[in-house]
Amino acid sequence: MTFDDEILMAYADGVATPGQADAIEAAMESDEMVRRKVLAFVRSTHRLRAAYQPIAEEVAPEHLVAAVRAAAGRRDLAQLPPRHTPSRTFWRMAAGFVLAAVIGAGAGVWGSSALDDAPQVADADSFRGVYQAAVDRALEGLPNGRTLSVMFANGTDADLKPVSTYLNDVGEFCREFEARFVQPQGAHTVVSVACRQNAGNWRIDGAFLGAEPAQDVFRIGFTR
């Protein structure tokens, strides 16, 4: 008795009818060719499963999880009324001003316990790098609503909290985050935007306090 390959395949996949299965099993006893064909089908399944199984056991990379959240969030944003967005040049200027103001106020910075594996530095010139590293870690690793704390040598604390994730017009993942600076003169919460570049580097594009650019507030908050 001869069998169509597709029937043998269906048998190997466990979806042949009981009648077909009986006939094939009988043939396998005596017909070497039938037996080899069925085994080849079974083996192909086993090989494929074994080869690809480890991938399904891996934890999905964070950027992919962020992408799903971003895709979900973009629908969210689409339902909100559009809001005025300052130009990129403005964002850059504002971000630069914030950094300059904080550097001016701090003699040195170091990582707090939340940044325990960040390098410990006591050099004002390194502020930008440490602030950037903190922003990178917060945006790369934290879900929306969670906080990462950084402490500066002059007594200023900063809590970084991502609040939303989305894709911008050119397809970059961007996150809006709150940076709450607490210092003796008072506390200021600044809303910033940063977009992911590569391998966990985030380009900080702006700083905002409420609906106003953050620069005036920073001038008051950080200049003695």
Binding site: S44, Y52, Q53, I55, R75, D76
Partner: protein, 176 residues
């Protein structure tokens, strides 16, 4: 965010490992697979209104990934040969450092799958790896069940042929 969006977001995140595995079966590298999964997730949210609640989200996602991969293959037809040369080169370069048996297995299967039409690769992944029935695989790939069976048969024969070629080459090398 609407409750439904949240629900899908959470469901998709928990599905990611399986989506990556499926996409990996259609791709030459893990990076390509992740790009594919990412594009599929974006597409899913854009078309969320088309997903019928209560139907299988995994099958719907497989269908999106499958479709993206087929479209990409059509667009890249002229580039394809070159891309494979690069992928082969990368595979060879990685040989020395990767000693885990499971990776070697994946690499061997990769070599067997390379150059196979994406339609066939999808079916191998859906039926053999994901365990979908022929009918479910037919729905995902949008072809009749008879076509699924003949393609699946062809894909596995190709796989077996390639393994045969590999063994012959090994034997030849061994006899030298």
């Amino acid at each position: 965010m609407a409750g439904r969006d949240r629900e899908v977001e959470a469901a998709l995140i928990s599905l990611l490992p399986r989506l990556r595995r499926f996409a990996r079966g259609l791709s030459a590298t893990m990076e390509d697979a992740d790009d594919l999964v990412q594009a599929a997730c974006v597409r899913a949210f854009e078309n969320l209104d088309k997903w019928e609640r209560g139907t299988r989200l995994d099958s719907w996602m497989f269908a999106i990934i499958h479709r993206l991969r087929i479209d990409e293959a059509r667009r890249a037809k002229t580039r394809r040969d070159k891309a494979h040369l690069v992928a082969d080169e990368e595979r060879r370069a990685g040989d020395l450092s990767r000693e885990l048996e499971e990776r070697m297995m994946l690499r061997r299967v990769d070599a067997e799958m390379a150059g196979m039409e994406p339609e066939l690769r999808s079916l191998l992944m859906l039926v053999c790896v994901e365990g979908l029935s022929y009918r479910e695989a037919a729905e995902v790939t949008g072809v009749p069940i008879g076509t699924v069976m003949s393609r699946l048969n062809r894909a596995r024969t190709q796989l077996a042929d390639r393994v045969g070629v590999e063994r012959e080459q090994k034997n030849t090398t061994g006899n030298r």
